[in-house]
Symmetry: C3
Subunit: 313 residues, 3 copies
């Protein structure tokens, strides 16, 4: 494998070449197998990861902290609550430069788009973007693509429906960048006012992808092998009556699956609210908790690779 | 030892057989001795404990995190503040299922009675209840019984006074379940409106225990070898004037001990407010800080045992 | 080296003899060199540090947690937010005694002057003061003196300007105690109402130090080899208009450095607000981020030494 991410930042879904993705997925797959045999693969023993979360995200933070510990490394952590009280007017740049004196890698989540890049530019150590506002969430995109490959067996001839809030959803924004490397056929399912930004769809089409925009979830699912559901995020709305109108737009429940009359793989970045009913969890295609677990393997791969560690894949 | 807790959840004070308790106390005792010789007994090296605290409890959380680290394991932690902000409407079941993709064991504290059971039913990994509302707090009961045995030398012919808020106190509710296996003679000391629920006392009596309810702390102590004090918990009262009237009902101070005219062992789950005066800390029977330390040994035992680790006891 | 800090508390800048400082700086220097070769020097493997922060301070907390992990030890942590909600009326003494049942060392930050001493008196294990109100912050003073020695090459014939809020700044209060052991020539630069307390300056003079008080930063810098800037702390003012008037009193920017017409080393305990402009960060004398890193080495030295570990220096 000639690809090296050593010393790199992980900032944006579009920063990767196809061979980078391949290397990451292979490394993640190595860790998945290795963890079946033992609890820890101590490639990063003695290294320290700092997690800086300016927005709460237990899920993503715990996933990174687990990944680092499974690699034998240590963690120091700044919580979202502290971040606000500690600020005392300190710039993001100063905080990150300070933390770079302690840690070997930084993972950052911040409400402002572009802040992860700003942080990365300020320090010599690798910075991983764990979500910057409505911007990007590249490690989520990578765990999504890892899950898609595992569930469907291949990344060729993908037919995928993406549903929900495609306007504000940073996970889908990052995911389509990665998917564009593999030439998937996409169905973008959303209410009109939550459509994928035109700037993104036209770039995807420019790369030769077949992109269909629709409001009809069932039809999109009938044409797809996998549906990626997202939550209509209350916190992105200023007009709550608008939210109330839209939140129930797309719901996958047992009825929906019966009508569909075919098997489909269901992913979701979680947390979900009502868009997938709990009864669906037993469905063999319901892959969203497997997706969570895959996040650990993929983040182990990223942490190891940016620290220059290679594994036999 | 034939008892195995491997893969078990620890949810309720009444889930244990006497031989389970014996095995737990022996294992805890093994760890107590082992920690005199070295700082770490790395039976759980590479394993990860997730602590999910929906209510604050620094004491219990740090006790578990210490126990896990003394066993060589790692910890990922969701704080009480995050839990509220992170929720975004996610169900407890979904959160726990997510965390079960990261960790090998979950410790949960939650304000709702029954929530630990709900969590345990949702995941295949062991779940330990660190307090569910006014429900149970079984690991506290186990460290209490461990302390009682150490302080009194035996669990036979116990004469124990339990004092304070016996209505809402989940620690005493869990403790009496465990004590009922050993046939103690109990003095239940409380103001009338904070009496032990009838449902519990009648069950205890049904098991053949001698249970005396009283409002007189001194007399109860004169008949007992050990008194278990509890705090009148302000946060359980809706009418604060009621709280003000009752909070000073039972106070152990130097005067009280002099009048008692015999040695008594004093336990308390802590934190205390006014019910034990600081001057009593120097009294040889004041065992509440030793009790705190015992919590580490007992939690090490539980963590090791639910992970299927056995020690030579 | 005959000095031993084994079992000692680290509470106050004036507790050290010159030979203690020498031993600490040599040990810190040892760790600095050792960390160039490997990520961890596991002298404290199996030991547990408890960090109790009653005031937020991500910087100091992460520095200690990093130091402990670089020594192979573990950490349990009570955050500032929890501390307030958890309190339930518990005394500081009770909390510290409880935590001393779990951990081998305690680091405490607390808003009340004298609280670190109070904590230390309550427990047999070493307590390190990470800031007690407007009182002391001795580990900061030690990392400052380590940085001064590294940047200037020696602690002889020091000429140092201290600027900003000298009245409330606990870092400068602790630093001058340590400096007094080495006989520095001091320039104290502050607005009149933020002057160093008379009680301190007269003690310094009593020890034979040459102390000049001034409001003129430029002149002080021209006479000094190093300037220690501090933030005018908004949170110490009751009258905010007073703060607004004073906050811009002293600013080091590119212009200031040009006018100075000589090289000067610049330290700052951070966080900074406006008192050092970001453009100055590229200046070779700007040592404040190196100072942050030195904090890890010095805290490793202190943690190792109070636990009785010695290194070949």
């Amino acid at each position: 494998m000639t690809t090296s991410l050593k010393g790199n930042d992980i900032l944006h879904g579009n920063q990767f070449l196809k061979k980078d993705i391949d290397a990451i997925l292979k490394t993640a797959s190595y860790f998945e197998k290795a963890l079946k045999r033992k609890d820890q693969i101590p490639l990063l023993k003695g290294k320290i990861l700092a997690t800086l979360f300016y927005e709460p995200s237990t899920r993503t933070r715990l996933s990174f902290e687990t990944a680092m510990q499974r690699l034998g490394g240590g963690v120091v952590s700044m919580g979202s609550v502290e971040s606000s009280s500690v600020a005392k007017g300190e710039s993001l740049t100063d905080t990150v430069r300070t933390v770079a004196q302690y840690a070997d890698i930084i993972v950052i989540r911040h409400p402002k788009t572009g802040s992860a890049k700003e942080a990365a530019d300020a320090v010599p150590i690798p910075v991983l973007n764990a979500g910057d506002g409505a911007g990007q969430h590249p490690t989520q995109a990578l765990l999504d693509i890892y899950t898609i490959k595992k569930e469907l067996g291949s990344l060729n001839n993908l037919k995928i429906a993406l549903a929900g809030d495609l306007k504000n959803g940073r996970t889908v924004h990052a995911l389509v960048e990665v998917l564009s490397l593999f030439g998937a056929k996409l169905y973008l399912v959303s209410p009109d006012i939550l459509r994928m930004p035109e700037e993104i769809t036209s770039r995807l089409r420019g790369k030769g992808m077949e992109v269909t925009e629709t409001t009809d979830l069932k039809q999109a699912c009938q044409n797809s092998d996998l549906v990626y559901m997202t939550r209509i995020q209350k916190e992105r709305f200023t007009d709550l009556s608008e939210y109330e109108k839209l939140k129930g737009s797309y719901v996958i429940n047992e009825d929906f699956l019966k009508q569909l009359n075919k098997k489909i793989v269901i992913l979701h970045p979680l947390p979900r609210v009502d868009e997938i009913s709990p009864a669906v969890d037993e469905y063999s295609g319901a892959a969203y908790f497997r997706q969570v677990r895959n996040g650990v393997y993929v983040r182990m791969a990223l942490l190891a690779m940016v620290m220059g560690k290679t594994v036999k894949t």
